[in-house]
């Protein structure tokens, strides 16, 4: 499909930070020849386009759309649907689009709690009754509209069908280039696959993996802030909850290389049904104690915030949390 002529490619961003674009720019600067193969239909960071421009395109006329950012605003849903209609292949690019990313942590709170914190609780706000509104009539009598903030941040696949995923926060240039090469080769893996990253967990490529003993049993889990880490040793065996064992590889273990734990930005592996569940499973499993109180202490000290640790990038992909919020359950 993609082997003939240039590939018509589109980039789009939703609730994102721009880091994915930076990564794409880095990728292209590492391999400038790509520009000759890619026909960039739109790329908001570099090329201007409007929704109307996209609407005018024939359906399925875009070969590949790379969408980053989570679905946070009402208009993201429209745009996602539009791009789906116009594109043969839609790829969730980056952690936010794939599973919600860090902004997805907002799903631990309701939209109202979030708005209230920003517009009235912070210490720099004194006008406690003011708040942005979706429809506002100006003093001139004109209505100004703001897009609605959705009650939940959603990953892209919650609103449209996603064909492939390129993981990472952001995906490294290598991951991005690997993925593009697969797309350009025309040899496409099954739908739903992850492109450009490893099929295995990060430990496989982490230089510190060899420093592990055969059995990993930990007497204490520790937070990084009060732990002196030996940079030459696996963080997990030093008691730091490093998510390398359960996180997809592909970044070459950038964080462990500077003695910081993997925080899971490459997300789940194919076998996971709930990434966070798997994280807490392996972490709890290696605690070397049979005493309930001691276990609780070890967990309290090392993992005071299991949700923030295990779902730092994937909370909106937790079907449980999503369902609870949709059902209006506690905390929603």
């Amino acid at each position: 499909m993609l082997s003939e002529g240039k590939v018509r490619i589109a980039f789009y961003w939703m609730a994102s930070c721009g880091g994915c674009e930076e990564a794409q720019v880095d990728a292209v600067s590492d391999e400038p020849s790509l520009i000759n193969i890619l026909d960039i239909v739109f790329w908001p960071v570099a090329v201007d386009f409007k929704k109307e421009d996209v609407e005018k395109l024939p359906d399925k006329s875009v070969d590949v759309a790379l969408i980053n950012g989570g679905v946070r605003l009402s208009e993201h849903i429209e745009m996602a649907k539009l791009l789906r209609r116009k594109s043969k292949i839609v790829i969730a690019y980056g952690a936010c689009s794939s599973w919600g990313g860090i902004p997805g942590l907002a799903n631990l709170y309701s939209r109202e709690e979030v708005l209230s914190r920003i517009y009235s609780e912070v210490p720099t706000v004194y006008e406690k009754d003011k708040k942005p509104t979706v429809k506002y009539i100006t003093e001139e009598g004109i209505e100004l509209e703001l897009p609605e903030v959705l009650p939940i941040l959603l990953p892209l696949n919650a609103v449209i069908e996603v064909d492939y995923y390129i993981p990472g926060c952001p995906p490294t240039p290598e991951t991005t280039l690997n993925a593009l090469k697969i797309l350009l080769s025309g040899k496409l893996p099954p739908k739903g696959s992850v492109l450009g990253a490893s099929q295995r967990a990060l430990c496989d490529e982490c230089p510190l993996n060899v420093t592990k003993p055969e059995k990993i049993l930990i007497k204490n889990l520790s937070r990084i802030y009060n732990t002196r880490v030996d940079p030459g040793k696996c963080l997990l065996i030093q008691g730091i909850p490093c998510l390398g064992p359960s996180t997809r590889g592909g970044c070459t273990a950038l964080c462990p290389r500077v003695a910081m734990p993997c925080i899971g930005c490459y997300g789940p592996l194919e076998t996971h049904t709930d990434y966070g569940g798997k994280v807490i499973s392996f972490l709890a499993s290696i605690i070397d104690s049979k005493d309930e109180r001691e276990i609780a202490r070890i967990i309290e000290e090392g993992v005071p915030d299991p949700a923030g640790l295990a779902y730092k990038f994937t909370l909106p992909a937790s079907r449980l949390r999503l369902n609870l919020m949709k059902w209006g359950g506690r905390g929603a």
Partner: protein, 143 residues
């Protein structure tokens, strides 16, 4: 909801203890509420928190992992692994908005059919008070 709420409770039962205790409850013709569904595993240590999260996501009102009493594990110490995971899982569930009463780890010996019956009764009662995990409420305009 005029009809009385009947919680649906899922139990992951160790083949050697809790599952056998449920068998014993049957052969002893004990009676307990019909809200429990048992999934048999060989050891409570097999229960991956992913399974529990999936059960709640699917709408289980309560989930029980039932294993051998400490020191009695058929596989030496699988139940301790279940214990470690349960402690962390309970913390996680609370953050996700699942009340701690909805998730339990119970030690139920093969001979302790009585405990299985009591646990079921107690769980059903507590969750009935709590209400269904799906509170019918405002659904955000996300779909």
């Amino acid at each position: 909801m005029s009809e009385k709420f009947e919680p649906k409770i899922l139990m992951f039962a160790c083949n050697w203890c809790a599952y056998a205790a449920a068998d014993l409850a049957g052969t002893s013709r004990m009676k307990y509420p019909p809200n429990l569904r048992i999934i048999r595993v060989m050891c409570s240590g097999r229960v991956d928190p992913q399974l529990v999260l999936e059960a709640f996501a699917k709408g289980a009102d309560g989930v029980i992992i039932a294993g051998c009493r400490p020191g009695d594990c058929h596989y030496i110490e699988g139940n301790y692994k279940a214990l470690r995971r349960a402690i962390l899982l309970r913390k996680l569930l609370e953050q996700l908005g699942v009340e701690s009463e909805r998730f339990r780890l119970e030690w139920i010996a093969a001979s302790d059919a009585k405990k299985l019956v009591e646990v079921t009764h107690d769980m059903v009662e507590k969750i009935r008070k709590l209400g269904p995990i799906r509170v019918v409420g405002e659904v955000g305009s996300v779909e």
